[in-house]
Symmetry: C2
Subunit: 219 residues, 2 copies
């Protein structure tokens, strides 16, 4: 009975890793759609978001069932509760990638991002995707060192966002209000994807290290 429970829990974690990969793909495709003004790819990100939502909904039901069907022991309980949070983070990250794709679609055939900001957004997307992979690897390998390294990347994300503001608010900004509004919101979406990845990292640390000092956490 407990073996089956453990297997079901491992299957949930495996599917969370799969969900992370789907979110990584959505983020990658949304940034390509944005920077290349690729309307097909933008549409694909928007329609594929339903798959992320569906897998998340399925995982949620399985987590509830695991909580309800058999009282989990402390480490398992923590994993199930954190799994519910991880899937909330991943669902939201998928939504944010779809928001990016919707701005790309709205401005098509124009490019939403001015050419001089393309390297910045390209790097922002790369950092966000790298952070999703790190969070996913940390979860799969129960590797808290990996999770802890993510904070440094988040600083780079903050720097990239600050650069955007400097460019937009400089006297020589020549792209007008619409492009500035797009850049402000797009920058926010990528920053939020990265924030959720950092949160995922913290949640993995909680799953893994929580087991080492359970008295402290459950007191």
């Amino acid at each position: 009975m407990r073996d089956t429970y453990r297997e079901q829990l491992d299957a949930v974690v495996n599917d969370l890793v799969k969900l992370s990969q789907m979110v990584s793909t959505a983020t990658r495709n949304s940034s390509r759609a944005l920077l290349q003004a690729d309307i097909q790819l933008a549409e694909q990100v928007i329609s594929d978001d339903a798959q992320i939502d569906n897998l998340a909904a399925d995982l949620e039901q399985r987590c509830f069932a695991l909580l309800a069907l058999q009282a989990p022991v402390a480490g398992e309980l923590r994993t199930v509760v954190v799994a519910l949070r991880l899937l909330a983070d991943l669902t939201r990250m998928g939504d944010l990638a779809a928001h990016v794709a919707k701005i790309a679609r709205l401005r098509y055939p124009e490019h939403a991002v001015p050419a001089d900001l393309e390297p910045n957004f390209s790097r922002m997307a790369d950092v966000a995707i790298k952070m999703i992979h790190e969070a996913s690897d940390a979860l799969r390998n129960r590797d808290t060192e990996e999770a802890r390294r993510m904070a440094a990347r988040d600083e780079e994300m903050d720097d990239l966002r600050s650069s955007q503001f400097r460019l937009m608010l400089a006297d020589n900004w020549e792209h007008g209000v619409e492009a500035a509004v797009d850049v402000a919101l797009l920058g926010r979406y990528f920053e939020r994807i990265a924030d959720h990845a950092v949160t995922m990292g913290r949640e993995v640390i909680y799953i893994v290290d929580g087991e080492l000092s359970s008295e402290e956490i459950w007191s």
Copy 2:
């Protein structure tokens, strides 16, 4: 033993209602700080956010303890799991109110919001606060009708946001790029506060109606 469990769960729900009131106050104060360029009030919202975070952290520990110490029955389990989500929503809403206050502080002694957009933002804040109260009342009274009414208000929020974009992107926008970027982000923050209130409404429906058809939900 079960009576004590029920009492502890009721205390968690009561504190969630209290947390909602703190978030409502933060939202109200952040909009006043914004529209009146009130630096003291802005600072207060930013520093008071720690109180929201502290109560949320305390509630989280109590929810974990309720899950760990005694296997809850279905309705209780659902309430505890949803309580964990409600407090995540409320924590985030508090962060968003603090973001609004930070923009007010950044632009002080100037007003971040141009005068012709003040009525729009004032209404946005009112709608968001009304929605927080509705979500909180729905939770306290286990009133799903209240929760369902919230969707209509969310439509007004969308309309207000669309009006902002129309004004910013019109040819006669005379407030420059910085004000447009501020308005875009501020509008987003209030919209997200409202989104979280709608989510809270759905979560309350799940707590209440889930008990009426538990087979369906736990199957």
